[in-house]
């Protein structure tokens, strides 16, 4: 098992090295670089920060400062399914809170947490711009419109 973890880590590190190599050595590329790593690996690791620090000649704490400022970046690996419940005004007005609570109930976790098997992660999202379909839930970027609390089980069944 440890061998497998090390293998994964190594392949992750290789991927990070490749991404960082291709980036321009321009400090203004920091967010772009982090976004590529976030989208490919699902999180920003210490290794990634160190690699970027060397390439862009920005200090690690400056990079970490940017990583922790923006909601898009995660310091922990993401779960298989990232369930984001939109809590924009329109969705809120149409009961998004109840949808969120239902997810919490069915998954047995609170907002911001992952299930023990790392299959599901529940988070609040800012307005996704689909207010015409409120309340909206996004799963790994796929939009589910009109997801009132009665639709929660349906979505979970589909994912499982």
């Amino acid at each position: 098992m440890k061998g497998k973890i090390d293998e994964n880590k190594l392949s992750e590190q290789n991927e990070i090295d490749q991404i960082v190599e291709k980036i321009n050595s321009d400090p203004s590329e920091l967010i772009h670089c982090l976004q590529i790593i976030q989208s490919k690996l699902g999180y920003i690791s210490e290794y990634a920060v160190k690699a970027i620090s060397k390439k862009l000649k920005i200090s690690e704490s400056d990079i970490f400062s940017v990583v922790t400022f923006y909601s898009q970046f995660s310091l922990k690996p993401k779960a298989k399914y990232e369930i984001q419940v939109c809590l924009g005004t329109a969705c809120y007005v149409l009961g998004a809170n109840k949808t969120l609570q239902k997810f919490e109930e069915k998954l047995g976790i609170k907002v911001g947490e992952q299930t023990a098997d790392h299959k599901f992660e529940l988070s609040k999202s800012r307005c996704l711009g689909c207010c015409g379909l409120a309340p909206v839930v996004s799963v790994n970027g796929k939009i589910y419109g009109k997801t009132t609390e009665d639709k929660v089980e349906e979505i979970l069944k589909e994912l499982v």
């Binding site: 898009q72 924009g88 005004t89 800012r126 015409g132 379909l133 409120a134 796929k142």
Partner: protein, 610 residues
């Protein structure tokens, strides 16, 4: 690219898409809305089904295209069949089959997918109530073009404004047209666009930038998303015009990460535009060079503020800074920068082509042109609405929006997002202009309108926005970072029934402090939801207190003993005692909190506890 080449491309493409404009065309076209809203309602599936059914039925001369947004998101997926212009909504995959088999094969309109199924004779978009009062400038052309095909944009006279600007107008003449139009920033602040460009053009610098704020963080706003997804070339053209006007050779579109489809379409459009030489080096054979790049936001609402946006563009924390210096003098990488909202840019090609004077005649007073509103919440027709400035809220919400569903009563409309205000029923006839709104303690904002009905708690709405602000505050300045947090804590205290009248006063005082002392626009406008709900719905706040004090002691003035000295009135912490000097005073039982101060101070034993 020369003008001749552009015109040739246009003519050729117009012939191909003849069905969209010519009722007598021998071609047919099915156009399916493919904006994020309809896409998430499976409009991609519809396109597949249409194509399959057309093949199955061996129909010729029929094409299926995906288009930009129709705006009527509540009734999506939307499909229009040309040349008849039959307007179908809520189309399902089965409905698509039906449309092919009935409409295309048999020539019979599939009436069950019409906007009003009870009026089968009303088949076109012009018959739809939702569109009747609308006027399209920023969103003009969205529904006619395939956003992934530059030729469609060219067919609708795309890039002619750029040509006109580069070859027949000087940069200052371009600025003059924009100034004449009276166009004001559509992002919320409403700063005159022409003036902004002029200030930037004045600066002498080796490098200048043109930036498009496509961060659209306001919850409830999705007009910018729609414009970019539907008509990305319009933005490219407008930014090139802006670059020419101010002397910038590089543009950036700062697009929020949560809009992947908009990003995809814009990236593709930029590649296409470069391929055709419409941006890049020596555009239209002139000396003007312009390049455009997309930079993605990373999830911070504060990056909608212009200085924060610029810091984010530079790869830093999205923290705003004080001004001066203004972006026109020192912006991205310290260079003079024009920063405008997507919708602002979307108006530019029309202004250049039709002239600033034409634009200035639309709208009301100093708010010229049109505004795109994103209507959502407790309203029948959620979606995008473009109207001349000066239209009233009633027109938007009731005439076009269809009013409140489920027989509920209108309570308030939230305008301007987290920086905005909640306006009550008696403000429904307010013309929507920058100045009229400002006079009523509100703000245009990006144009997001959230309708609230009788079931909405205004204090909860204020709390919702404040929670949002607390999450999104950058944390740099004390008033916003700590002040808003304290404000939220007071609101929570009130909602839990543990609040007092003093807490309501504190809410107000602290709100004004945050407004007047915060470093940036986010902080300065963050207390607006609290202040506006306090102004128009104070009773809801007070009701939260009365809940607790209903069990409290009450005091009554004995009229026979009271000599009207007013000592009790002055001692009352909630000012619920009133009267005329030398006449008996009275205690307002609704407001009395039972503290007993009045009884303690009365020298005449005129106050009794009940």
């Amino acid at each position: 690219m020369t003008l001749k080449e552009l015109e040739t491309l246009r003519e050729h493409r117009l012939k191909e898409i003849d069905a969209r404009f010519n009722k007598n065309s021998n071609k047919k076209e099915i156009m399916v809305c493919s904006s994020t809203g309809c896409k998430s309602n499976n409009s991609d599936e519809l396109i597949k089904v249409f194509k399959l059914e057309i093949e199955k039925n061996n129909l010729k001369n029929i094409s299926v295209e995906h288009t930009g947004c129709f705006g009527l998101c509540a009734l999506g997926p939307i499909v229009i069949v040309y040349p008849e212009g039959t307007f179908y909504c809520r189309v399902t995959p089965d409905g698509a089959k039906q449309i092919v088999n009935e409409h295309l094969v048999k020539g019979k309109v599939a009436t069950n997918f019409l906007y009003d199924t009870t009026k089968p004779e009303q088949t076109t978009k012009n018959d739809v109530e939702f569109y009747k009062k609308q006027m399209f400038i920023a969103r003009k052309g969205s529904e006619f073009i395939n956003p992934d095909n530059i030729l469609d944009y060219i067919a609708l006279f795309g890039y002619t404004a750029l040509y006109k600007a580069l070859t027949t107008l000087t940069p200052s003449q371009v600025i003059e047209e924009v100034k004449l139009s009276g166009l004001r920033g559509r992002g919320g602040a409403g700063f005159p666009t022409g003036t902004k460009w002029e200030l930037t053009a004045k600066e002498v610098a080796k490098q200048k930038y043109v930036v498009c704020n496509a961060d659209e963080g306001d919850p409830g706003a999705f007009m910018d998303r729609s414009i970019i997804e539907s008509d990305p070339h319009k933005i490219i053209e407008a930014m090139a015009i802006a670059g020419y006007a101010v002397g910038a050779t590089q543009g950036f579109v700062y697009l929020r990460a949560e809009y992947p489809l908009a990003g995809e379409r814009l990236e593709r459009a930029i590649v296409e535009a470069k391929k055709y030489g419409l941006i890049g080096k020596n555009i239209f054979g002139t000396n003007f060079c312009f390049d455009l790049k997309i930079k993605y936001g990373a999830g911070a609402f504060v990056c909608g503020e212009e200085t924060a946006l610029m810091h984010s563009l530079e790869g830093k924390r999205g923290e705003p800074r004080t001004r001066p210096p203004y972006p026109a003098q020192s912006g991205v990488f310290g260079c003079p920068t024009v920063l405008n909202n997507v919708e602002t840019y979307a108006n530019i090609p029309e202004i250049i082509n039709n002239g600033g004077l034409w634009y200035s005649k639309i709208g009301k007073g100093k708010s010229t042109g049109t505004k795109v509103f994103a209507l959502s919440g407790k309203v029948k027709h959620t979606g995008l609405i473009e109207l001349p400035m000066g239209s009233t809220l009633r027109e938007i919400i009731f005439d076009i929006g269809g009013g409140i569903p489920n027989g509920k009563k209108f309570k308030a409309v939230q305008i301007g997002g987290p920086s905005g205000a909640c306006l009550p029923e008696d403000k429904l006839d307010l013309p929507v202009t920058y100045d009229d709104l400002a006079e009523n303690g509100a703000m245009m904002g990006s144009g997001g309108l959230i309708v609230l009905d009788e079931d909405s708690s205004m204090v909860e709405v204020a709390k919702f926005f404040l929670e949002f602000i607390c999450d999104e505050s950058c944390g740099k300045c004390t008033p916003c970072r700590i002040g808003n947090r304290r404000l939220l804590e007071i609101l929570n205290k009130l909602l839990a029934g543990n609040g007092s009248m003093e807490d309501i006063d504190e809410l107000e005082t602290l709100s004004y402090f945050i407004k007047e002392n915060s470093l940036c626009g986010l902080g300065q406008s963050s207390p607006n939801p609290v202040l506006s709900t306090l102004k128009y719905f104070r009773n809801e706040y007070e009701a939260l207190i009365d809940k607790k004090h209903k069990l409290a002691d009450k005091y009554v003035i004995n009229k026979d003993k009271c000599i009207g000295c007013s000592a009790c009135s002055r001692a009352c912490p909630v000012k619920c005692i009133s009267g005329e000097i030398k006449k008996p005073f009275e205690i307002n039982q609704e407001k009395c909190i039972g503290c007993g101060n009045c009884q303690k101070i009365c020298k005449f034993n005129a106050i009794e506890k009940v």
